[in-house]
Subunit: 156 residues, 2 copies
């Protein structure tokens, strides 16, 4: 069942993120900072929101998104990940759909996701494509030389 994340979900989300293997140390730290701000200020004042797929006391996946500064109706999909033991059950798709719904309720015209073009983001790129996102911009050698930025966009 997809629900709003609770404070006690922090360690479970971190376990999924570190276990997924797709996130660099800097990305884990950046997501940790977003989580801390979300807990500290709440969804409205931080601009961030987290949803989790919860099965009893276990978190099987999460999605995090936030409204984009300086825009009217653009939301960033900041992170989505599913526990390695719960892949291929459609949880990622359901999390994306739930996040998009909440974003639309909050006024989103479009959602953007910044991903790496390398193998480490292969899983999330496949998920985004299957969910109707399209690459609308590419910046060569963004993360580092040989690791391009692909900006996926979905419009409502």
């Amino acid at each position: 069942m997809i629900l709003d994340a609770e404070e006690t979900d922090g360690p479970l989300i971190e376990t999924i993120v570190t276990g997924a293997g797709a996130f660099s140390e800097e990305e884990v730290d950046a997501l940790g900072a977003v989580w801390a701000e979300f807990l500290d200020l709440g969804a409205e004042d931080s601009g961030y929101d987290f949803l989790v797929e919860r099965d009893g006391g276990v978190v099987l996946g999460f999605v995090c998104y936030g409204s984009r500064e300086l825009t009217d109706g653009v939301f960033d999909l900041l992170s989505v990940a599913v526990d390695a033991a719960a892949l291929r059950q459609g949880i990622g798709r359901r999390l994306l759909r739930a996040g998009e719904g909440e974003a639309q309720d909050a006024g989103a015209r479009m959602v953007m996701a910044e991903t790496s073009g390398t193998a480490r983001h292969l899983g999330v790129r496949g998920l985004l494509q299957s969910a109707g996102y399209e690459v609308e911009a590419t910046i060569k050698d963004f993360y580092c030389v040989g690791d391009d930025l692909h900006v996926f966009v979905k419009r409502f």
Copy 2:
């Protein structure tokens, strides 16, 4: 003369920003938040830096840039503006060049600038083009419907 910004330059920078007419209220607020973080934490810990063109006690222009999270060697040119009374003297070009130099000293491989495709950013787009920046990505209807994002990039 182009120098590091000092704490007392804050109101002078704000006067230039609000006088330039190119910045929305949200952009002025966002730049104010960057300035506050820069003053609070310093250039190294905030990741931001401000340079000013100073003529005696008067600030004629400024440039602000910062290292981009999650990247190795990408810097954002966050803002550049020149006092309306001091335009067409090459101050913008000199500020850009000085900022690029400092960014390169700090490890920049490239500098990125996010601009609006509408008339309000016409001046800065012209400045960027004349300084060797190229549009590498465009996101339609980013700021709002009818106001696209143009991402300018300069590589070193």
